[in-house]
């Protein structure tokens, strides 16, 4: 474990804590009604985004979902532009047209996100096909949730990607819930990764709350893809610490979670950030104070992003239909 560079480990930590602070920073503005847009917080799943992106190069591609702030940030998206987008501002990464569910930063390889469940999976296969045709050796990661495993287009995508041996990693974040539905009410079997097997796809599951395991698994998958052995299917076992949308599962004003307190408490103990901190301290890689300094820095960055976003202009209503067609 200790053969990771300190720099590398610090970067992982920074990415995760940045995502966490960013996500948590939305809670108050949502409750206060300053943010109107539906926001699907990534808190609790940071190790997946951080570990995956650490194993990718900038030129590699990813596609996201409705819950993609973490994917966007980990791939190098600007924090300020993310926050501004969520406030619906012209300075947002999608100029306020897309909101939280359409984050994008193409120049960093984050090619987009969209909330139609499973809607971006085939797009990711398409970008893998593009890089294969161009012989660019880029790898594409398709992020999707356990809920998306219900959609047929995933299987069509698996088949096509396997048939053409495309460099795409199917990254399924199994957080056990699809909105109000626990996975056992969605699927007869839990082991999602096994759906890759009939297509001859290298498929496995790993602990998605352990960032180093995530990193190692994806590094391996990238290697397979680059050698033409793709696609790879990885199921990341993880958990969202917040509700499906917004801070909690606020059903008709009840602000209650459909999940049991015990279950949430259990997963809080597996919080990927706490685990990483513990690992750092235990192995004397970083001191508590080092980490606290990073925390302060990123807290500030997040605060500044909110200030930036709030001060940014709204889109002009005269420009409502500006981007219907590319001119």
């Amino acid at each position: 474990m200790i053969n990771y560079s300190k720099n590398f480990l610090e970067e992982l930590y920074r990415t995760m804590i940045k995502i966490r602070f960013c996500e948590e920073s939305f809670v108050k503005p949502i409750v206060r009604g300053e943010i109107k847009c539906p926001v699907h917080l990534y808190s609790g799943q940071e190790a997946v985004a951080a570990g995956v992106s650490a194993a990718l190069r900038e030129k590699d591609y990813i596609f996201g979902t409705h819950r993609s702030h973490g994917h966007y940030l980990a791939k190098g998206g600007s924090l300020r532009e993310l926050v501004a987008e969520i406030y619906g501002k012209e300075t947002g990464c999608s100029k306020g047209r897309g909101g939280s569910m359409h984050v994008i930063v193409s120049k960093k390889g984050m090619l987009g996100a969209a909330p139609i469940v499973a809607g971006t999976i085939s797009l990711a296969v398409g970008s893998a096909l593009a890089s294969k045709i161009r012989k660019e050796k880029k790898v594409t990661v398709s992020f999707f949730g356990d809920g998306a495993v219900g959609e047929g287009v995933l299987y069509e995508s698996l088949n096509f990607a396997a048939l053409k041996k495309l460099p795409v990693i199917f990254a399924c974040e199994n957080n056990f819930y699809s909105t109000h539905m626990p996975i056992r009410e969605c699927r007869p079997r839990n082991d999602i990764f096994k759906i890759g097997i009939p297509f001859g796809i290298t498929s496995f599951k790993i602990d998605g709350n352990n960032v180093l395991k995530v990193y190692e698994a994806v590094k391996r998958a990238v290697g397979i893809c680059k050698k033409g052995g793709g696609p790879v299917f990885i199921e990341f076992i993880t958990y969202r610490l917040r509700g499906h949308v917004g801070p909690d599962d606020n059903i008709q004003g009840a602000h209650t979670d459909i999940r049991s307190k015990e279950e949430i408490a259990k997963w809080k103990r597996k919080d990927p950030i706490i685990r990483l901190k513990r690992f750092f301290i235990k192995n004397r890689i970083f001191k508590k104070e080092d980490l606290e300094k990073i925390d302060r820095e990123l807290k500030k960055e997040v605060e500044n992003a909110h200030i930036f976003a709030k001060e940014s202009p709204h889109p002009r209503k005269e420009e409502l239909t500006n981007y219907v067609f590319k001119k």
């Binding site: 306020g96 909101g99 569910m101 469940v117 499973a118 059903i251 459909i258 409502l320």
Partner: protein
Amino acid sequence: MSSKSRELPYSLAINEALHQMMLADRNVFLLGQGVKSPWYVGNTVRGLLKRFGPERVIDTPVSENAVTGVGVGAAISGMRPVIVHPRMDFMLYAMDPIINEAANWHYMSGGNSSAPIVFWTIINRGGEQAAQHSQALQAMFTHIPGLKVVMPATAYDAKGLFIAAIKDDNPVLYIDDRWLYNQKGKVPEEIYTVPIGKGVIRKKGRDVTVVATSYMLSEANKAVKELEKDKINVELIDLRSLKPLDENLLFSSVRKTGRLVVVDAAWKTCGIAAEISARVIENVFKYLKAPIARVNLPDSPAPASSILEKEYYLRDKDIISAVRKVLR
């Protein structure tokens, strides 16, 4: 009878239709995302799971295509399924079972079989949800032969049309709107139907005919009141059904007023308003004193930013200015 004056919100009118029809007919069942929870579909499904159990109130995985097809197959086998799509946008995964299968089934079998199914779908827009979570696709479905389409605007019609849709022997697309869920109206307690294909005059008038459906009726009502102040006497028609369309009601109103404004909270091009306009032209052209005005969304995806949303969605003022235009 006291039941005549009871008020219910639109959402609970739907809920009552479901309760009563599931009780009255063992072939009726509910299938789709969110039917066990208020999370998706508000209180329209309240108490159904508890009363009728998970065999008839079936929440589903995110598999719009198959789940819709399951409904169609059950209908072909003699059931009366109600399939819910908590957003119209999600139905784009389910076009094959709706259009290729259900809508054609009776015809393709030469009348030997049919698919009496209700596709219940919800327009759920606004709130900065952006392009994939805001669509109102009624025109795409109204284009399809073999599919009836209804869009109730009031609590009374919400219940009556739901019951009519369930009882109809054909596939019916029942479209409601989250913006209507809290609107209250008189709803009789008993089972009753509002006939599919019949519109209604919401307010008699002589200067201009305004046609609106679903949520736009509320905005049209406001517009009508505002215009009255200027002594403009609007005849307001609520079509209630888009297919079949109550042409006669429409034509006789236009014959009287000679002016027409058609309101539909969806894209303009090839939309519902185009059809109504074209039909009026074909049939009562010589009565028209002015161009027909269409009040629609711009041909643009829905934006996130609420500043842009305000510009994008229609309100009473849009109807008012259209009316003034055709009166010029």
